[in-house]
Symmetry: C3
Subunit: 212 residues, 3 copies
Amino acid sequence: MNLTPYLEHFGVAVSAVSGVLAARGKRVDLFGVTVLALVTAFGGGTIRDLCLGATPVFWVKAQGFVITAIVAALATFFTARWLTIPRKWFEPTDAIALAMFTIVGASKSLKFEAGGLIAVALGTMTGVAGGILRDVLLNEVPLVFRKDINLYATAAISGATVYVLMQHFLKQPLWSVAAGVAVILLMRLLAIRWEWRLPEFETGDGPPESSK
Amino acid sequence: MNLTPYLEHFGVAVSAVSGVLAARGKRVDLFGVTVLALVTAFGGGTIRDLCLGATPVFWVKAQGFVITAIVAALATFFTARWLTIPRKWFEPTDAIALAMFTIVGASKSLKFEAGGLIAVALGTMTGVAGGILRDVLLNEVPLVFRKDINLYATAAISGATVYVLMQHFLKQPLWSVAAGVAVILLMRLLAIRWEWRLPEFETGDGPPESSK
Amino acid sequence: MNLTPYLEHFGVAVSAVSGVLAARGKRVDLFGVTVLALVTAFGGGTIRDLCLGATPVFWVKAQGFVITAIVAALATFFTARWLTIPRKWFEPTDAIALAMFTIVGASKSLKFEAGGLIAVALGTMTGVAGGILRDVLLNEVPLVFRKDINLYATAAISGATVYVLMQHFLKQPLWSVAAGVAVILLMRLLAIRWEWRLPEFETGDGPPESSK
């Protein structure tokens, strides 16, 4: 039995919920919430497909994903008033979606003959770009750029790197995928538990204002 | 006599004007205003074409639209100092542009073999994404995400749905287009008149912070 | 000896540095800084390639550029604490990158059979869109939209126009490139020196709120 499609729909639903929840306190209406859900769920994969030239992009060809995302968004919209999902529950769920999106993205990039470094970059983008777009739409500096996020993108980069290296040297898709996913999940959960962080950007005094 | 090209240039000009007017009070210069006009007029159609794989995108092949948008932007830039268009006049004009962009977008999507749900999504995107990009560039949460907008996107979704269904079952392009446009115009104008609104997103207390 | 690749890597590195420096005072971590560098360096060229249908986009096929950008970003991240580049030094360097990106962008557009006006638009986009995306990610109205920027985009538009016209009438690629680059450099440096500015958008009193 092939579990991949279920996992993909699960990842899309989790991302859509994350898009909706980010809108709390923002005076956004039902349409705004739906767009935020769709952008969070499909933003990363869309940019990846466009950069690779894999058009029409994946969700144009697979209406089912759009339905999953919209249903997840509507369900969250209407239940969030009464039902509060404890934060602790949501982070591991979100880590699974991150792992899945990232490795799917890196794998698709390799299939389109991207080099190893590019596959890592596009895999990471598949995992995190939806959330970046969501935060931009909500008028905030992306959460994933801040050290409080506990190695969110770093976990994705590490897992994608492990996946690409294993795939390059061993050519065992199943093991490569498993290792990549495991690295992302483990690193992310440990980072949340122990509050691991990347260093923040610090400057002496005011460096030049740039304009490119 | 074929009116479509005139209508399209009209829609582009109206959107460009809307892009310029959104910049008031924002300390944006002549270049910024021109970019805002172009992004508002072409943003939605560009994302649609990219997602469909319809490249080069439409305005690369049709310089005339770019000229129309730039002329409309410059005219607004230089006259806005003295001439104030009353709000009441602008909203029906903008509703016509919304209707036209949405139905053109849905129709092009069907031509590229997109499914019905995707055609509705891409049609709506053609109608509203330019304005979303404009607001993001001006550092604001998109106006179309707020309930004060009186069913702006909802009118587009409804009209696109009617168009796609009629086209699917009756296959009479002219009637389908007319019905789609009529639904958008009517719904939008009634919504403005009677201040119809979508429900806003409400949560109990602080739900989990999301990070995808 | 062909200098073009060196110049391109130089332009990418300068843009990446500009992306990093824009993040000061923004509480962005190492990952955020790297993304800002990549987006500033590759944003404009990516949008150009997508609109032209030139996929996979250029950096997917040229991993070397990505390495250059990441190395420049890391170097800036780790030295900015101690080393402050005086603003006066950075602006001419950035002007060279602007000139190079713009003319490369216009030239590629002509190769893809874009019309003259579109080549100017896409050339300018190649020069300035990376910086616009950078500012959007940092939650600011793009610097290039403000009159304080001293003809940044205007220099790009002028140089791209000169390049496209010369290429059209004289068909001497080398001279066209040289003239385009010279116009951008000269105009930008003079504008900085004499504080030339575009007019800012002014309105009477509150014009209509737009919503497209």
